[in-house]
């Protein structure tokens, strides 16, 4: 309870920004395990209580990636002047280093620098193969363009752009990606599709705002389109999200195995003064937790306050908890209404079995689960009442699941074993047996079918899906079939049950 209250107070402090009144200090980074908790940070007592919820040894380092800085300080008028001087007011190298230094100065933070991010993404074998395909498409598109085959050039360049974006080359290799995007825009304009060309060129400038072109290299019509796209980007581009939406940053964070992603962009505000746009995206919470615009003149002084304010409000996870959490496999439980019928039966018409089922499954490793289910059925008489009595049965099923997760859906295929225990089972097609009973002298005993064994065993196969309803609950549906093979001589009268189930489940 106390911890809860303290946490609430701290959250309020975080929200009000009170935790960021602490002046900047140059503090040597001490290895977490060796760091004495009480001397480390001078915070209000309530906050100190929160920080000491975990011992230092239990605290897990927060991994933060800084994506390459995006410089959108440019003028459309200078786009065709490759030798125009850069804006001296923006020292990007120093700015980027400052962000790195501030984050590195914090406890329990490891920083992935922009160059490390680029190396990591570029070295991914799978993505490198895709990037090579994108490059090949680009070259082909270029050939088509030079060969005046605009339509084919557009198709090839569109594919190149799609592949580059898929492997985050706007982060790791923006020039190659921008080349393809520019050429796509140019090809579209060249083919007379000015609106789409404008969109493509604007997207290209979003990747590489500093791109300059040699005057006269492109026809005047293309140069005008480039100018218009640049102007449009500078005035309406989404500069605060240089690498796209939260979902895309979430994917990048996943690729980099980091908890948070920092993006920094520089642009000119409406008065023409440079400003720094800084965003902090938290992957676990899937949201932007800091989103500020700082005037370039005050950036160096305000940058630390901004970053520390955000970082103080990012909870430190427990190493122990994280470890045990990573070890704990999610368990899925469900209860369902169940229906089944037998493809091989002693009755002339099908009889129906209805009941309920309950099951549990647990993830063993990605894509693989074990499962166990129990089904309880009441089998009802068929229309001819060849089944003399309704009977009850219990089925136990167990096996493994192969799972495929797609968004809110989990699809699975379950091979396993089926153990089916039956109650009293009598069937006959003789009406005298049905009315007077199987022991009556009019009943032809030769027509009576009973299960000599009340236990059948065999193989089972089911396919189904879980549809998530929120974080924990899910709707479960599945179809299944079994084949009984044991005992070897007594499966002729009743075999091959098929069934459907639908119900509600909960993930623990």
């Amino acid at each position: 309870m106390a911890a809860c209250i303290v946490r609430c107070v701290t959250v309020a402090l975080c929200a009000s920004g009170l935790l960021n009144t602490r002046p900047a200090r140059a503090q040597p980074r001490v290895p977490p395990r060796a760091q004495p908790t009480t001397q480390r940070i001078a915070l209000p007592p309530s906050v100190e209580l929160l920080r000491t919820d975990l011992t230092d040894a239990q605290k897990r380092v927060r991994r933060v990636a800084i994506l390459p800085l995006r410089n959108a300080v440019a003028r459309a008028s200078e786009m065709l002047a490759p030798t125009a001087p850069r804006d001296a007011a923006v020292d990007l190298v120093r700015l980027e280093q400052r962000v790195i230094d501030v984050l590195r100065s914090r406890d329990f933070v490891t920083v992935m620098t922009p160059s490390a991010v680029q190396r990591r993404l570029a070295s991914d074998a799978g993505m490198a193969a895709t990037a090579r395909a994108a490059q090949a498409r680009y070259r082909l598109g270029l050939e088509y363009y030079l060969g005046l085959s605009s339509a084919q050039a557009i198709r090839s360049l569109e594919e190149s752009v799609r592949l580059y974006r898929e492997v985050y080359r706007d982060v790791s290799s923006p020039k190659a990606y921008a080349d393809a995007q520019f050429m796509l825009g140019v090809s579209l304009v060249d083919a007379g599709n000015a609106p789409q060309g404008h969109v493509a060129l604007k997207a290209a400038f979003a990747i590489s705002p500093q791109r300059r072109f040699r005057q006269g290299f492109f026809p005047p019509r293309v140069e005008r389109a480039l100018h218009a796209a640049m102007t449009d980007y500078l005035s309406t581009g989404r500069h605060s999200r240089p690498y796209g939406s939260a979902a895309r940053l979430g994917n990048i964070a996943k690729k980099l195995s980091v908890d948070a992603v920092i993006t920094v962009a520089v642009r000119n505000d409406k008065q023409g003064n440079a400003e720094v746009l800084l965003s902090a995206y938290h992957a676990r919470r899937n949201r932007f937790e800091a989103d500020v615009a700082l005037p370039i003149s005050a950036t160096m002084s305000q940058l630390e306050g901004t970053l520390t304010r955000w970082l103080d409000c990012v909870p430190i996870q427990s190493r122990v908890g994280a470890k045990s959490k990573s070890r704990s496999k999610p368990v899925f439980m469900d209860t369902s209404a169940a229906y089944a019928q037998f493809l091989v039966q002693p009755t002339r018409k099908v009889f129906h079995s209805v009941g309920f089922a309950a099951g549990v499954s647990q993830l063993v490793r990605p894509g693989l689960e074990w499962f166990a289910r129990v089904n309880m059925f009441t089998s009802l008489s068929d229309p001819n009442r060849d089944l003399l009595h309704a009977f009850n049965s219990v089925r136990l099923l167990a096996g493994v699941s192969f799972v495929l997760k797609r968004g809110a859906f989990r699809f699975w295929l379950r091979p396993g074993f089926d153990l089916h225990a039956f109650g009293k089972f009598f069937a006959s097609i003789d009406p005298d047996c049905k009315l007077f009973g199987e022991s009556h002298h009019l009943c032809d005993a030769g027509t009576v079918r009973t299960l000599q064994q009340d236990l059948l065993m065999g193989f089972h196969l089911a396919a189904g899906t879980h549809v998530a309803l929120g974080r924990r609950f899910f709707v479960s549906t599945h179809v299944s079939g079994s084949a009984y093979i044991f005992p070897l001589s007594n499966t002729d009268d009743l075999n091959f049950p098929i069934g459907v189930q639908a119900g509600l489940g909960y993930r623990f």
């Binding site: 019928q341 129906h352 068929d382 229309p383 001819n384 968004g407 049905k434 009315l435 459907v500 639908a502």
Partner: protein, 198 residues
């Protein structure tokens, strides 16, 4: 959840329901029209076949106990001492008291609402001590499924009752209980008294 996903869920749910209904439709139809205890109402018409009741009563009570299983029908014909259905005739009584006879080859034709069966037993009155092969044909009243009308006809040669036919109307009074199914072997059955066909 995006509408597209929701549409997919609804579509999947409908598919499951349709499948379930399709699976059910093969066997959910009820076809138990005749099951129950039927008792004769009113005096019979036609030839004299099932005759006088006992104890001075004009006619006996006639009861059909039927079980229907699709197109197959099983059951028995039981006789009471009077149309009041208070005292059944006893197989354990002397052999002249014809008590009951089992229905054989009972079939139900759902298209024509017709029940047909045969008996191999006695008929109180004209053939109390005689074992006869009798055919019954009854049709359900189209306006009242608890009433059926039809005939029983003797097809036993060389019986003197051959081709005699009597028309009866039966009304369903209740369902079948275990006690309704009792039809004991007659006294002296081993000595030739096989009146009820056992």
């Amino acid at each position: 959840m995006v509408p597209r996903t929701r549409r997919r869920i609804v579509r999947a749910g409908l598919t499951v329901m349709v499948t379930f209904v399709a699976l059910c439709s093969g066997g959910c139809d009820s076809s138990n029209v005749l099951g129950g205890v039927w008792r004769a109402v009113g005096p019979p018409t036609g030839d004299v076949l099932i005759g006088r009741g006992l104890g001075g009563k004009s006619r006996p009570g006639v009861e059909l106990v039927l079980g229907q299983y699709g197109s197959s029908v099983s059951g028995l014909l039981r006789f009471y001492r009077s149309p009041d259905y208070d005292v059944p005739r006893q197989a354990a009584a002397p052999s002249f008291e014809c008590a009951c006879a089992f229905v054989h080859n009972g079939t139900w034709n759902a298209d024509s609402d017709r029940l047909s069966f045969t008996l191999n037993g006695c008929l109180p009155g004209a053939a109390t001590k005689e074992q006869l092969f009798v055919r019954g044909n009854f049709v359900l009243d189209p306006g009242n499924s608890s009433v059926m009308t039809g005939t029983i006809a003797v097809e036993q040669l060389p019986s003197r009752l051959y081709q005699r036919e009597q028309e009866w109307t039966f009304e369903r009074v209740e369902g079948v209980s275990q006690s309704d199914l009792a039809c004991e072997r007659p006294v002296h059955a081993d000595d030739g008294n096989v009146a009820n066909g056992q």
